[in-house]
């Protein structure tokens, strides 16, 4: 690792990976939420046309790609909203038009070798220049700050557009901002990840985080963690392996997704085995329900006909008898590692409630 850090282009590539690994999942979670997982891919296609124009005219390709992607983003969002015509088809025309124009124009430029094209499409650790790096850092900070500041509203709009409109949240401007953030992320990621693979770094870390998180804020934190590990790890591996960095990053992300999926499945199996559900329970416990409420660790048990009932998902769990809180054993390890996902942000994931606080024995 020390050698890697001493090589100039590796330093730059690793810093670029750090930036991309952070911002791509941040923007991506809203794309997943809006079910627009593939839109980043399309913007990558259009950005290639921008790169090509830059190569032909001698302007820095990063800038021309940025302009092309942002313009495409705004047009796409307007088409989606105004679209009487089939939005899907309109997107296809723009995306394939973009990549076709990119390939044709690049072939006319002095640098238009197939090897050069490959670098733009699939990423390379060799291509990040220092001037690129300053621009990437600036853009990444801008993306992160904007996303963070607008996060509650982006969430609200993606969660329920009609409701957002009804309460006066400006839906179209926020959607355009998200589209521009996506386009900008595409450009920041194009050097190390490549224009054809960018979308993966926005989406795959989120796909993995959705498997284990129990809240939006928890999912976002996990996605950024997965994104960082994939991007930095992928760049670091691509040097000794002599592989395209973009492909390596994405394979790493997919690998993380698979490992997470297996871990989440194991955890579900374990927790299913060790939790008792209270019999049919139409009654809703609450402050005014009349049943004695006993705070117990991170949850509240209600004494209901001698049984302790604790809210879990849509039902109530049996937590033993009055005075004797049941001890649930086993499986705590699995829940502890994966299940701790987002307890930091929330009052405590309901699922872990049964396992983390069961050792005290008596409730009172």
């Amino acid at each position: 690792m020390i050698d890697l850090l001493s090589i100039d282009f590796m330093q730059r590539a690793l810093i670029a990976a750090l930036l991309v690994g952070t911002v791509a999942p941040m923007v991506g979670i809203f794309l997943v939420q809006r079910r627009l997982s593939l839109i980043g891919d399309g913007m990558g296609h259009v950005a290639l046309a921008g790169v090509a124009i830059g190569l032909v005219t001698g302007v820095a390709p990063v800038w021309t790609a940025l302009v092309a992607a942002v313009v495409a983003a705004v047009v796409i969002e307007l088409l989606r909203t105004r679209g009487r015509t089939n939005g899907d088809v309109a997107l296809a025309v723009i995306f394939y038009g973009g990549i076709a124009a990119g390939v044709v124009i690049i072939s006319k430029s002095p640098d238009g070798t197939p090897a050069n094209l490959m670098k733009y499409l699939f990423g390379s650790i060799l291509t990040t220049t220092s001037s690129d790096l300053y621009l990437f850092a600036g853009l990444a900070v801008l993306i992160a700050a904007t996303t963070w500041a607008l996060r509650p509203r982006l969430f609200a709009v993606a969660n329920d557009e009609e409701y957002a409109r009804a309460v006066g949240i400006p839906v179209l401007p926020l959607n355009i901002v998200l589209a521009v953030l996506t386009a900008t992320t595409v450009v920041v990621a194009m050097r190390v990840v490549g224009l054809l693979l960018i979308s993966a770094l926005m989406i795959v870390p989120n796909a993995a985080s959705q498997l284990i998180a129990r809240s939006f804020s928890g999912a976002l934190r996990w996605a950024i963690a997965f994104g960082l590990v994939s991007a930095v790890g992928g760049v670091a591996l691509s040097y000794p392996l002599n592989t395209p960095s973009g492909g390596t990053i994405v394979l790493l992300a997919v690998g993380l997704f698979i490992v997470t999926a297996v871990a989440a499945t194991v955890r579900t199996q374990l927790s299913r085995r060790r939790h008792d559900i209270a019999e049919t329970h139409p009654h809703e416990h609450g402050i005014e329900c009349g049943h004695e409420a006993i705070p117990h660790g991170d949850h509240v048990d209600y004494v209901h006909d001698g049984h302790l009932h604790a809210a879990h998902e849509s039902h109530y769990d049996e937590h033993g008898h009055e005075g004797v809180h049941s001890d649930t054993t086993g499986g705590a390890g699995a829940a502890g590692t994966v299940g701790a996902a987002d307890t930091a942000g929330t009052v405590g994931a309901a699922d872990t409630a049964g396992t983390t606080s069961t050792t005290t024995g008596t409730a009172r």
């Binding site: 969430f155 969660n159 409701y163 957002a164 129990r214 939006f216 809703e284 929330t346």
Partner: protein, 285 residues
Amino acid sequence: MLMSAPRTSPDAGLPAAASDVVIDLRRASFGYGERPTVTDATLTVRRGEIVAVVGPNGSGKSTLMKGILGLNERTDGTLTLFGVPGDELRDRARLGYVPQRHTLSTSVRATAEEIVSTGRLPRIGWLGRLRATDRQIVARSLDVVGLADRAATEVSTLSGGQQRRVLIARALAGQPDVLIMDEPTAGVDAANQHVLADVLERLVERGVTMVIVTHELGALERLLTRIVVVDGGRIRFDGTPERYAAQRGAVHHDHDSHHHDDELRPHPSGVTVGPLDVRHDGRRR
């Protein structure tokens, strides 16, 4: 002449205190594009009223409600909200919208608290974050709907009735002056309908004004102060539950019936229910 309830609707000669009128429609038409699906609707809702807007599927009741919320086009007439023209109302969170959703967003994980917090957004500055008082209001909203101990639960694991209550809490978090609910009991089993009715009763006790759009009164009937029947894109009846009960046969809002008593307005010659009515349901996401 327009139907008006003896007790609740304002008389033409008797202007209501402006602060008292929450929603005021005058001969309003709503719809998508050229063809209005609701025509000539005149309706006044005052503070403290619990109004049910009933009618069969495709009658235009949802269009009417969305028109009030500004979610579709008003092609004719006037809409006044809290004394100002509907288009000029800046503080739209005063209308607490509870949409009909069979499932909350399942594309990403979110807790009940996170969903309810979005209802607070219209009340905080653009770059502001939820403060302690905002969080308290969110917590109280969850408490009112009986979901205090499920604040941190992921919403897709909640039952349909519980999810409906999350949406009510979301609207409450905006501290609205009126709750406008679309089919709050649809798709909710009988036991949960009663829980829901209890929740609404709690809100009634707190003096919340409500407009409830529904195709069946069911467990909600006991809460109502007024019933408005929409059919064929027009308001066919507007009166107290007692009067509604007395005229039930005549009003006839059965799903397949288009018979109307002489006392009620004749069916308009213009087509007011069409494929558009069905389509706008389908357009929901």
